[in-house]
């Protein structure tokens, strides 16, 4: 009874919820402690694609790491599917949350297949099951099974490496995926293609995704909702349309770039009236 109640509550709870979370770091010898995340409250709904936008040092990566306990919060509360992460075993928690690292974070001494299958292997899944799962994931991220499965990370292009990074994050069928500037280092074309592909996967697999980016245009194009951070504080959150109504000078500044780009592009690129 109790258990059923609990699982019911968990089903209705948001996949990720930050409540008044704070985290500070030692600033080094003699320096004051640096407040990386300052009293942030933020919820990510089921199936939602949230982008956190901010400059470097805004605390966005710290906030993401608090969600799967790569670091622990000093104050406040982080809940994953209703459960306080402090009560969870960090290793088990990380195995059920997908994480895509900034530079791919692939293990250079493991083949693409072994990289993708690592979390299922840690969960002690039988080898044949892992192998078929790896093939399935290669298809999913549009890599060639035969061509890429046995290669090593250094033999892949940057875009291919990030596709492997996405496949690895999805391997253990997580419901939540955290992405730390996954496409930041890619050329614009690859970045666009990967963004679209991931967005499609997000919908198809009914994922809840939190993605970090410093690029407002990317956030507007991919996300359902955008959170803006600066100096550890959450300045604003909402859809792109909602943000455009914001009076905050930093949010206005962030939105100016995509706006100006759109205007310039509209002028420079002839409109294809036939389409």
């Amino acid at each position: 009874m109790n258990k059923a109640k609990r699982s019911n509550r968990m089903q209705n709870a948001p996949p990720i919820a930050f409540a008044h979370v704070g985290k500070s770091f030692d600033g080094g010898r003699g320096a004051e402690r640096v407040l990386a995340v300052d009293d942030v409250s933020l919820e990510v709904g089921k199936g939602e694609f949230l982008c956190i936008v901010g400059g470097s040092g805004s605390g966005k990566t710290t906030l993401l790491r608090l969600a799967n306990r790569l670091i622990d919060a000093d104050t406040g509360e982080v809940r994953i599917e209703g459960e306080d992460v402090r009560a969870a075993d960090p290793v088990a928690l990380r195995r059920r949350i997908g994480y895509v690292f900034q530079s791919g974070g692939l293990f250079p001494h493991m083949s693409v297949g072994a990289n993708i299958g690592i979390t299922p292997k840690l969960l002690n899944l039988p080898a044949p099951e892992i192998a078929s799962r790896v093939d399935e994931l290669l298809d999913l991220v549009r890599l060639d099974r035969a061509l890429h499965g046995n290669r090593f990370p250094h033999e892949l292009s940057g875009g291919q490496r990030q596709r492997v990074g996405v496949a690895r994050a999805l391997a253990a069928r997580p419901k939540i995926v955290l992405m730390d500037e996954p496409f930041g280092a890619l050329d614009p074309l690859t970045r666009d293609a990967l963004g679209d592909d991931y967005r499609a996967l997000h919908r198809k697999l009914e994922l809840t995704t939190v993605m970090i980016t410093h690029d407002m245009t990317e956030a507007i194009l991919l996300a359902d909702r955008i959170a803006v951070m600066r100096a550890g504080r959450l300045l604003a959150q909402g859809t792109a349309a909602e943000l455009s109504q914001s009076q905050d000078s930093y949010v206005i500044e962030l939105l100016r770039t995509p706006r100006r780009q759109t205007e310039r592009l509209n002028i420079l690129l002839p409109q294809d009236g036939a389409a």
């Binding site: 290793v91 990380r94 195995r95 974070g105 293990f107 690592i118 979390t119 840690l122 690895r168």
Partner: protein
């Protein structure tokens, strides 16, 4: 004669399975022990700066201790441990040979393994470590499946260095009783058998190269992620170890005859081993043992019999400073030895004492007949001696008795002293009375009217466990009292001949023919 048609190559080759096998075994055991200690230590210490600094510092200090000294230090250490363990736990162990060699060499191997393991592990990129954590690895899983594999090439480089060091340094384990390729080198240096010296050096170098290349194959295999190459290297190492294990399992012999590190000892041990074999007993020689090691080895039963000199035991082993007349000293020594269970079987018939030696013509010209005559002219002269003489009590005793004071003192390899004094490079040397070179260079041993130097009768000693062994006694009895100083000098001269008739075995056979004649 062609260098390679020298029969001593064949003789050297005959020893190879035994020497090489022992060498590989002691090296592999030391390296395995070194790795078993260093790897966990490096893993634990890598994130602890204080511990890391202390460890690397200690390992560096060990590295500055000369290999020979490090090996020699482990012998008394283990001896003390063994007696403590016998007293407290009721069992002892042999502090001779294998164990001290393995421990000292393992210690020697630690620095490159520690340093490279720590460097390799700390060189793994933080983003990779974070990824390992992020995909849900525990600390142990991250270490085993990410950090160690990535650090492995650097670690292997350290292991290769350690292997080469250990194989090279293992040649120095001969004086503490561990058979190794060093047996060739020590025996060769003492008997002027350059074929042996060369053979030992080449064999040790080839072994080190082979092991290094096999480990390199493993390292390259790891770097290129080629299991075939890494496997091939591993297989090669395994084959090498297996091949050297086979012959050693075969024969362990009943009697072990010990010998110190100079030519006379090699000849006498060969002679005793030959007599034992002639009596139908199986015997091997354990040669090149340090002067301080050999007596303890006898007391502990690691060797069964060897020849020592009364004055050496009197002064070095029993630390008696009073010098007594010959017969009295021998009688007292016999009781002192008996207290430790050692049997003094008898005197061989000659004395190998220290003596101050100079060219006969020069001595006559200067009217020097005794050390007392020498003392007056000594301040204008130089003296040379072996490495230990000037720190021995005999030197102190000589100086006090005669008020000796030389212009200069030099230490040199005993084999070179005689030529040095004959050529006038030094004026006087502290030589050995049984040395054949005294006759060869027409030198004279100066008299010692004040008896400052104790008598050095060559005596045969038996281990406590052989005290009541009629077969051993009767096999060696024919040697007692039969070797006079002239025979021993000639034997020593032959042993220093540097030709194919100068191997200790051949000289021992010659000596036996000489003394066995009625």
């Amino acid at each position: 004669m062609n260098l390679f048609s020298d029969p001593r190559w064949g003789e050297a080759l005959a020893h190879l399975p035994d020497y090489l096998g022992s060498h590989v075994r002691v090296s592999v055991a030391a390296l395995a022990l070194g790795l078993a200690v260093s790897l966990p230590l490096a893993i634990v210490a890598r994130n602890r700066p204080v511990m890391r600094g202390a460890l690397l510092g200690l390992a560096s200090i060990v590295q500055t201790v000369p290999g020979l000294a490090l090996l020699a230090l482990f012998y008394p250490l283990l001896l003390a441990l063994a007696s403590v363990s016998l007293k407290w736990f009721g069992f002892g162990f042999s502090a001779f040979g294998f164990l001290p060699a393995v421990l000292a060499l393992a210690l020697y191997s630690m620095l490159p393994v520690l340093r490279n393991t720590i460097t390799g592990l700390n060189g793994v990129e933080p983003s990779i470590l974070e990824a390992a954590q992020g995909v849900g690895m525990t600390e142990l899983q991250s270490l085993v499946s990410v950090e160690l594999p990535l650090a492995l090439p650097v670690m292997m480089a350290g292991i290769r260095t350690a292997a080469v060091w250990v194989i090279g340094t293992a040649t120095l384990s001969t004086p503490i009783g561990q058979t190794s390729l060093g047996n060739y080198i020590f025996a060769g240096l003492q008997t002027q058998n350059w074929v042996f010296v060369l053979f030992g050096c080449i064999a040790a170098a080839l072994l080190a190269l082979a092991v290094d290349q096999l480990l390199a194959l493993i390292e390259i295999g790891i770097r290129a992620r080629s299991r075939a190459r890494a496997g091939l290297g591993g297989l090669g190492i395994a084959a090498l170890v297996a091949a050297t294990l086979v012959p050693s399992v075969a024969g362990t012999s009943a009697y072990v005859v010990g010998a110190k590190t100079f030519a006379e000892q090699y000849v006498l041990s060969a002679l005793m081993a030959q007599r034992l074999r002639a009596a139908g007993l199986s015997a091997t020689a354990r040669e090149g043992l340090g002067s301080n090691v050999i007596y303890q080895a006898l007391v502990n039963g690691d060797i069964d019999v060897y020849v020592d000199y009364s004055g050496t035991l009197w002064v070095n082993q029993f630390h008696v400073s009073e010098i007594k007349p010959r017969a009295e000293l021998l009688a007292e020594l016999k009781t002192m030895l008996a207290k430790q269970g050692v049997t003094l079987l008898g005197e061989l018939g000659f004395e190998n004492a220290y003596a101050l030696v100079m060219p006969r013509k020069r001595a006559e010209a200067l009217h020097i007949r005794t050390i007392a005559d020498l003392a007056a002219q000594a301040p204008t002269m130089s003296i040379a001696a072996d490495y230990e003489f000037f720190s021995r009590p005999e030197w102190e005793s000589l100086r006090q008795a005669y008020g000796l004071k030389f212009r200069a003192q030099r230490q040199m390899q005993p084999d070179f002293m005689y030529a040095a004094v004959a050529s006038g490079e030094v004026d006087v040397i502290a030589g050995y009375t049984s040395d054949g070179l005294i006759a060869k260079y027409d030198l004279v041993a100066l008299g010692d009217p004040r008896q400052a130097i104790p008598p050095y009768d060559a005596i045969v000693l038996l281990a406590p466990k052989r005290a009541q062994d009629p077969a051993l006694r009767s096999a060696l009895q024919p040697l007692i009292g039969r070797i006079d100083i002239a025979d021993m000098r000639e034997a020593n001269l032959r042993a220093a001949g540097g030709n194919d008739a100068s191997s200790p075995e051949a000289v021992a056979r010659w000596l036996w023919d000489k003394i066995a004649k009625p």
